[in-house]
Amino acid sequence: MKFTIRAGVVKENIYKWVFAVSAFASLLFLVGITITLFIEGLPIFKEVGFFDLLFGKLWYPTYDPADFGIFPLIMGTVWVTVGALVVCVILGVGSALYINELAGKKQRAILKPMIEILAAIPSIVYGFFGMVIVAPFIQNLLGLPTGLCAFTGSLILGIMALPTVCSIAEDALSFVPKSFREASLALGANRWQTMVRVVIPAAGSGISTAIILGMSRAVGETMTVLMVTGGAAVIPHSFFDPVRPMTSTIAAEMGEAVMGGAHYHALFAIGLILFLITFIFNVIAETISRKYRLKLGLSG
């Protein structure tokens, strides 16, 4: 008997350890990646001042003398992300509202999985689709010199972020207790009023979380923007100017940068800034969703 118990304990301990190791492995990766980003990114500041890097307007990393101004790249990311945000909020929240509030059971059963399948399409396919079909179409439609611009990038990124936004927003809407809707309808409000004045505010923080997570998806997306935004490192003056977001700069140039050189460190510094941006987004999303769970009395 003694042995049986001991063997059981040993077994249990092994399981515990295996799962503990896998749980802490992700922590290890996070710490490892963060440390690498700092170690490889910070040396650039020895050669370029912090403000010159962050607000410099010229990105000529391979020339001699080189210019490491990443402001055009940051603006590229900002423009494309803002544009993508508009697309994915309209489409994502719109479709979440329709699925949750207006669609019948049959439509819901088809629509939600369909939208989630969008997330399964590899980003290179989106990129190729954007480059070969969407960009020439927009170019001809609007008479632009080139269709590879911030607008096309925003459009495609918005569609890519759509499943994230739609799915989380729809979950948030479905968490709104039925009693809220019933009370509103009982007070004589119609369906539209109930949706706009009761359901959306009640699910507000959940929807915000959805939008912020969609945003960090758009900020971090690489392959698609590399293929459809044109890749010109200039500060855009309109949505129809080509841009070069931070992610695509890293992807395009890392393979050819001389290891340990200033260019290499500058690319890691861009990665570091990107990481900080998405990190902040995720912290905000987490904070909001926690508050929201507490507000509705759902344990979190």
Partner: protein, 283 residues
């Protein structure tokens, strides 16, 4: 009782075994390169198709040799040669002084082997009425002095300048040969591959771009530069200005299987494969 204690030992053994396997896995990549009958090739995406095609045929003929070919870019290839993680580094540009210094400090002796020539063709949309540019016009277009086709023999309209990424070997060669290392205009569309440049030019009436001769097709029009048509003949005779050699770097002179591989690449048959891929053979 016995069985239970046995099972205890077994779990211990399994854990130990797992650790051992992990250890082996982690140490594998370092060891596998030293094996004599395997060749690792890394580097320029321009040279990649040559390396891939010749390696396949070479392996068919020599079943005991295992060649693994990877892209990544000239910089990556030379870096891995310096790190000792590849036997052959493909490069579409000569090694840089900085890289050479680093190599020497690690006791590596990068040796250049020219395996083919690559011509860079300047391409426009087939509907463009321009058919030729002078070197000066080309430079002015890329550096921003000219931005309308009416100034460059075309029928007017904004020039959409397309370039390769400033970190690519093709860009470096083009920048040196055509632009005298002057900066490309900042609003040029910087693309990550020859293929992307060709695709965009084929879809954009006002575009100008440059690609390796191997990427020419009927979807784009190649321009005469200084009155010379980009072709295999003009590249080999040296009449066409935008041409460059392609390299496979080795640590010291190639020996053993690596030498056998080079002999094959430089043979008539190997050079024929080079030509079939759209590059210019050395013979």
């Amino acid at each position: 009782m016995k069985e239970l204690s046995k099972s205890r030992i077994n779990t211990g053994k399994i854990v130990a075994l797992l650790l051992l396997v992990m250890l082996i896995c982690f140490s594998m990549p370092v060891n596998s390169f030293s094996a004599d009958n395997s060749i690792t090739i890394t580097g320029s995406t321009t040279v990649l198709p040559i390396a891939q095609n010749t390696a396949e045929v070479f392996m068919d003929r020599n079943p005991d040799v295992n060649i693994s070919v990877q892209g990544g870019g000239s910089g990556v290839g030379i870096a891995s040669l310096i790190d000792g993680t590849c036997d052959i580094a493909d490069a579409s540009r000569p090694i840089k002084d900085k890289e050479l210094e680093k190599a020497v400090s690690r006791g590596i002796d990068p040796t250049a082997n020219v395996i083919a020539m690559d011509g860079i063709a300047v391409i426009v949309h087939p509907s463009n009425t321009a058919t030729a540019l002078t070197e000066k016009q080309l430079k002015d277009i890329y550096t921003g002095k000219i931005s309308d086709w009416s100034q460059a023999g075309g029928s007017g309209g904004k020039i959409v300048v397309i370039s390769r990424d400033s970190a690519s070997g093709t860009f470096e060669t083009f920048n040196k040969l055509a632009l005298d290392k002057v900066r490309v205009r900042p609003d040029a569309l910087m693309q990550a591959s020859n293929k992307a440049v060709a695709t965009i030019v084929a879809k954009t009436p006002g575009a100008i771009g440059y690609v390796g001769l191997g990427y020419l097709s009927s979807n784009v029009k190649a321009l005469f530069i200084d009155g010379v048509k980009p072709s295999n003949e003009t590249v080999l005779t040296g009449d066409y200005v935008l041409a460059r050699p392609l390299f496979m770097y080795t640590n010291g002179k190639p020996t053993g299987y690596v030498k056998a591989f080079f002999d094959f690449v430089l043979s008539e048959e190997g050079q024929k494969m080079v030509e079939n891929l759209g590059f210019v053979g050395l013979k």
